[in-house]
């Protein structure tokens, strides 16, 4: 890392306080640690929220339990990540999760989409988990022991999320009705999936997805982080409603 690169990374102002940002090496580049953690935490929180929208209405009871459990895991990961980010940024996990404006979230647009249709849900779940595995592997190799340790810990749960996603993908691919519906969903979500990862990690996602689907994926422009889908604002309204209605400092 050159001194100018480090300076540039440290300048990125994130979170309410933006105090003395710490810079770590990620994919050989300097990254503001707080910003990197917020990207991950926001992805996990918003995806956890979206997945939890199936609670009570999933295709059958066992799937309802499993998918709700996965949603809870994601929110648990978000909490752990927000706690690390809060230590970087001199704030609290709750403030980071609930007190920012919707446009301040750093999640990938893939997780913001509201698609209460099972093929799309499974396609998004699988694309996200596949991308996340690639990202977690890179994070586990980070020079920051706390971030690397948390990534390794998350991966132990994410492995089961991937098993769940892949069993569904294989099942949908094997059926005459499932295959075209999944294909349509993956094609729709593909530019969003590419947007989850940094440039350096995208080729790995492409090869994973192509190997599983047995076809070439189109080279499309990724939907970048920082842009937001309209439905994020609706989700944010609902997600922060209780927090906003309670006087500051309320005890639960």
């Amino acid at each position: 890392m050159s001194p100018s690169e480090i300076e540039e990374a440290a300048r990125t102002n994130v979170g309410p306080s933006g105090t003395s940002p710490r810079v770590i090496a990620f994919l050989g580049k300097p990254r503001n640690a707080g910003e990197l953690l917020l990207e991950l935490a926001d992805d996990e929180l918003i995806l956890g929220w979206r997945n939890s929208e199936w609670t009570g209405i999933a295709p059958f009871l066992e799937e309802d339990v499993a998918f709700s459990s996965i949603a809870q895991n994601e929110i648990g990961h978000a909490r752990a990540l927000y706690e690390l980010a809060a230590a970087e940024l001199g704030t609290t996990a709750d403030e980071l999760a609930f007190d920012r404006r919707p446009e301040e979230y750093r999640c990938a647009p893939l997780v913001e989409l509201r698609r209460l249709e099972w093929a799309r849900t499974i396609a998004r779940h699988w694309l996200y988990e596949t991308a996340d595995a690639i990202r977690l592997e890179a994070l586990a190799a980070s020079d920051d022991p706390e971030i690397a340790g948390l990534a390794a810990k998350m991966e132990r749960e994410e492995a089961y999320h991937r098993m769940h996603a892949e069993m569904w993908i294989d099942r949908l691919l094997a059926s005459d009705e499932g295959r075209p519906r999944l294909t349509e969903a993956v094609d729709e979500l593909w530019p969003y999936a590419l947007g989850v990862l940094d440039d350096e990690l995208r080729p790995e996602l492409v090869s994973h997805v192509e190997a599983k689907l047995g076809r070439a994926m189109p080279a499309t422009e990724p939907v970048p982080r920082g842009r937001h889908e309209a439905e994020l604002a609706e989700l944010w309204e609902e997600m922060t409603m209780v927090r906003r209605s309670a006087p500051a400092g309320s005890q639960w």
Partner: protein, 109 residues
Amino acid sequence: MTPRVFEVFRRERHGQPFQHAGSLVAPDQRFAEIYAREQYGRRQESDALWLVPREDIHEIVEFPDEFDLKYRRVDGYSIKARLKQARERSGSPPRGEPLGLEETPEAGP
């Protein structure tokens, strides 16, 4: 989906017997494993699970006993009445009354 029923047995700790935990419905064994993990293993309540397709369980429910062969049972007769008689013969106090023996406290762990 062609649903199949799987019976789930769980073991709390190594060395303990597996006990029936419940059942679940899944299209195949791969789905059943994920669902069993989520329903019976996600709170660290089990250290191992057995997953058995219900159709692989051979159930036996009929045990005819036309000639009242209860003398074959190990609990054939009650020892209680005989014990009472023996006590009366020896003149020792009936059950419930102190025998005059000091209870030895168990050694601590």
